[in-house]
Subunit: 199 residues, 2 copies
DNA sequence: GACTGCCATCCTACCAGAAGGTAGGTAGAG
DNA sequence: CTCTACCTACCTTCTGGTAGGATGGCAGTC
């Protein structure tokens, strides 16, 4: 039933983990070929160029992310819990070795040398994530659930930046726990104990 | 008087800006040769291998950073102002095009594919910066200048993560102002208005 | 069912250029 | 005479990418 062969997905999954490890210039078609068990040229059949590969990869990542956030919205209505689910999702990803970094955050750091088409996708993810966080914070503030120091937009940007920075620190220290140490108080601060008891 | 020729410094400065743009795998000896106006082979005279080049580059960066922080310590005794100087330093770097990213933060994102020797220097910078921030926050808390939610160490990690994430966001949005939007409230939060009037 | 053409997948074999790096030489300063 | 800084010329390996062929499944048609 799947309209895309498993090989194509394997290539994408492999490229994803390679990008997570070393960014756009940190891997080659040969690396993917080795892991997937296919010849270099065969990858070009599925993705004519490296730009094609990474662009579709990031586009799909964005879709998944947006679907994930929509799902959070669907199953949890409390803004604080929504942010908690988001933070704990990454905490889990970083704790097991599966995906210890957001590929868009990683690629954003090399934006100046990224192919334009890839860069556009990366920027779009930032806008989309920031928009969601802003809406959550806005709603939370309206309901008196959050105690915001500045505007929802600014708080959203700060939240996103801290999460991304926490990923970086966890990687730098080689210690997954750092992520939780940084992001835990982040939620705590948005909704101090006094607000924890729901009306 | 300088025990290192200007060429050597030129190479380092050039490599630095190239790394800021695209990380370890984002530049080549040929790129440096083009900019500095020298042949590829001549770079090998100053830095036998790429690892040598980047290791000394990061080592020097660390030295400069530590000297800079020591200097802050020397000229400003107020902890809040110290953090302010640090934050505004980066704000200025990002605002003009000079150095819109901390090379250690950038390199940390590609840590898994970095040569070990370079990785060690990068990690060392994180530890050193975190130690300084911790000491500043500790002192500030003792003096009743800061209102800390968690331990000085945790607050320091959060501060550092947020600054790094703010660099990333500024780059992703292509808008230097984002850095200030994120880091401004960060200081504001540590020392609320009520504490601003010094005893 | 057998024949046929088509298309997707994967292959071997190749290419040009870029990568990091080496060998060996020259010019000038001390 | 030596040492530093730089050069030309070259090497190997990797890079993303191409050309063209083998295989094999799946229509449609007789």
């Amino acid at each position: 039933m799947s309209n895309l062969s498993t090989t194509s997905d394997d290539i994408l999954a492999c490229a994803r983990s390679l990008i997570v490890a070393g960014g756009y210039n940190g891997f080659s078609y040969a690396d993917i070929a080795d892991v997937v068990g296919i010849r270099k040229a065969s990858i070009h059949h599925h993705f004519p160029s490296k730009v094609d590969l990474v662009r579709t990869l990031v586009a799909r990542y964005r879709e998944e992310a947006e679907a994930g956030l929509a799902n959070v919205e669907l199953h949890e209505s409390d803004p604080l819990e929504q942010l908690g689910i988001y933070a704990r999702y990454w905490e889990a990803c970083i704790a097991d070795v599966s995906a210890p970094f957001c590929i868009c955050a990683l690629l954003a750091s090399e934006l100046p040398v990224l192919p334009e088409e890839v860069g556009l996708e990366v920027r779009a993810h930032f806008r989309s994530l920031s928009a969601w966080l802003t809406s959550v914070l806005e709603r939370g503030a309206r309901r008196g659930r959050f105690q915001l120091v500045s505007t929802p937009r600014a708080e959203a940007e700060a939240f996103m930046a801290t999460v991304h920075g926490a990923m970086l620190s966890a990687r730098a220290y080689g210690d997954p726990k750092v992520f939780g140490v940084v992001t835990g108080p982040l939620l705590e601060r948005l909704a101090p104990r006094s607000l924890q008891i729901r009306p």
